[in-house]
């Protein structure tokens, strides 16, 4: 299959963002801000970079995707539903009783291998997956997305050290640096200092990019692919905008975990369709 172009990926990201806002509006519950900041990287992974089979979610040789910042699962659900891992109508069941689209990702949802949502833990699981795949000499890779606030969890750094020790060049982490967490900016709550330098000090190869620039994301993933056997785990530090694409949500921390009302929803869909 021909690889999708940057322009095509931008269109898909726009569509996924609209689905995210719609899901959260319909559920009247969920986390829009971080879903929108991570949307471009998630789109590039699922629609260009990863080898997955929506008809065979447990395919042994699949690439893995672990959303360590699990609360932004609407963006992952939007990608999985669009690709056909489950019927697209299910996207209207976010956070409903009996739905595979739980408030945080879990293993009952086709395409999701492990539950996440308790921060820091998904990253350690991604490291374990990369170890397991490597020990079987599989070519499959593991992609994982962390929040910048999440990097305050100690377990992240325990896992980062393990990835270095076991030379996990099949592991690609994206840190969604939107600089906001629930109680304020990351600098106010707990300064992360230079996350890229931290990961570098833990033995990782670092790529500092604009995490909402599809061209940069694609270029970076292409570069990483060329270094698939250099024995180093890869970390993309993506500077992003929380609430990206919705005028009144951008860089507003209070949109971390609340749903828009009808008027706000309509405005959001207009912003996403027409830009602002």
């Amino acid at each position: 299959m021909k690889k999708k172009s940057v322009e095509e990926l931008k269109e898909i990201a726009k569509d996924l963002r609209k689905k995210v806002v719609t899901m959260i509006y319909e559920a009247q519950s969920g986390h829009p801000g971080g879903s929108l900041s991570a949307a471009d990287f998630v789109t590039a992974c699922y629609f260009r970079e990863m080898n997955v089979d929506p008809k065979n979610p447990k395919w042994e040789d699949r690439d893995r995707f672990v959303l360590s910042k699990g609360h932004v699962c609407p963006i992952q659900y939007a990608a999985l539903g669009t690709l056909g891992f489950f019927p697209a109508e299910k996207l209207h069941t976010l956070r409903q009783e009996g739905s595979p689209l739980q408030g945080h990702p879990n293993h009952h949802c086709p395409g999701i291998d492990i539950p996440t949502g308790s921060l820091g833990q998904g990253f350690a699981c991604a490291v374990g997956m990369a170890i397991g795949l490597k020990s079987d000499n599989k070519a499959a890779r593991v992609f994982t997305v962390l929040g910048d606030g999440e990097c305050q969890e100690g377990e992240v750094w325990e896992a980062a050290a393990t990835a270095n020790k076991y030379q996990l060049d099949n592991l690609i982490a994206f840190v969604d640096v939107n600089n906001l967490q629930i109680d304020g900016t990351t600098d106010e709550v707990m300064p992360n200092l230079d996350l890229g330098e931290k990961f570098r000090a833990f033995g990782w190869e670092i790529y500092n990019i604009d995490g909402n620039d599809m061209a940069q994301i694609v270029r970076t993933l292409d570069t990483i692919k060329m270094h698939s056997h250099d024995h180093k785990p890869k970390c993309i530090i993506g500077q992003t905008t929380k609430g990206k694409g919705v005028s009144y949500m951008e860089n507003v921390g209070s949109w971390h975990g609340v749903a828009p009302n009808k008027e706000e929803y309509e405005q959001a869909m207009k912003d996403l369709e027409e830009g602002f």
């Binding site: 308790s118 374990g128 997956m129 795949l133």
Partner: protein
């Protein structure tokens, strides 16, 4: 003749070497205390099946969970206090909730790291693990039980917590004794009183039964190696046929073996229980038997309780 004594952790280490050879998907995930948890033999025999994440237990649990999703059968190995409490939420979220095939295999259960003091003594571990859905919780009573139950959890597809201890304890079973997860082992038949124990305390129960026999009291001794799922049928049988039950555990009196037995007795609406266990207090650096004594756990006290049971 003095009985042979071996620590249960040794039984674990020896069986893992065999299991690692039989199944290349069996891994050990160590957190820097492999030697004292007896994984060094496995590491030497199967280096490609060994991961050591260093002093990072939370990460050990997460890494093991991720490995399990790729078809591995990881045994996370540490001391019981860390393997239950330090890793607790990781076990809940990433292992028990998705019901992954990860084993938490811990040495130094109960007061057995006696001279290390309260920081290293695990008195809440089995209770905490028992509370988590999907979890199986086991404590073998001797070297052979440790070997057999290690093999049993390796063959069982799902999460399990198994607790070994530090000290050499009498070998009470032999190579031919069979153990099944969730099925109590009757260590001794009796009709006047039922003593239900697990781990190192099974020997205390057997010693008490011997003394009671000399006084004309017939004591049944049940090795309840699996406290979850509890062998409810055996407890009910004790209630129906004997009615008087003594439980013994090297664990806090809250939420361990005694509590599990009491839950069955309370719902049955008949039978009486006297519990021996740690009296909801921390330990200290002291000889093992002194720590037990301070909590009222001695063979003589068990004998007296059986004689005075009303």
């Amino acid at each position: 003749m003095e009985k042979k004594a071996i620590a249960t952790r040794n039984g674990f280490g020896e069986e893992m070497i065999l299991l690692g050879a039989e199944n290349k998907n069996i891994f050990i995930v160590d957190a820097d205390i492999g030697k004292s948890c007896r994984t060094d033999g496995f590491t030497k025999a199967h280096p490609a099946q060994h991961i050591n994440v260093g002093i990072a237990e939370q990460n050990a649990a997460g890494v093991a969970a991720g490995m399990a999703t790729t078809g591995k059968i990881p045994f996370v190995v540490t001391y019981a206090v860390f393997g239950s409490l330090r890793m607790c939420e990781m076990i809940r979220q990433e292992i028990a909730y998705p019901r992954l095939n990860v084993k938490i295999a811990c040495s130094h259960g109960g007061f057995t790291p006696a001279n290390d003091g309260a920081s290293h003594q695990a008195i809440e571990d089995m209770g905490v693990m028992r509370t988590i859905p999907n979890m199986t919780v086991i404590m073998p009573a001797d070297y052979w039980a440790a070997r057999k139950l290690t093999r049993a959890i390796a063959e069982y597809d799902g999460p399990a917590f198994i607790r070994f201890t530090r000290d050499a304890i009498p070998v009470i079973y032999d190579e031919n004794t069979e153990f099944t997860i969730g099925k109590a082992h009757i260590a001794r038949e009796g009709s006047d009183i039922a003593i239900i124990a697990n781990g190192d305390m099974v020997c205390y129960g057997l010693d008490a039964a011997k003394k009671l026999e000399a006084e004309g009291i017939s004591a049944k001794v049940v090795d309840m190696h699996t406290i979850k799922p509890l062998d409810v049928d055996v407890v009910k049988d004790c209630i129906e046929k004997i009615g008087k039950i003594i439980t013994i555990e090297d664990h806090n009196i809250i939420n361990g073996l005694g509590s599990a037995v009491c839950e069955v007795v309370a719902e049955a609406g008949k039978g009486k229980v006297k519990r021996f266990g740690i009296q909801d207090q921390f330990g200290e650096s002291a000889p093992y038997h002194r720590l037990l004594e301070k909590n009222g756990i001695t063979v003589d006290a068990i004998v007296a309780a059986a004689k005075n049971f009303r």
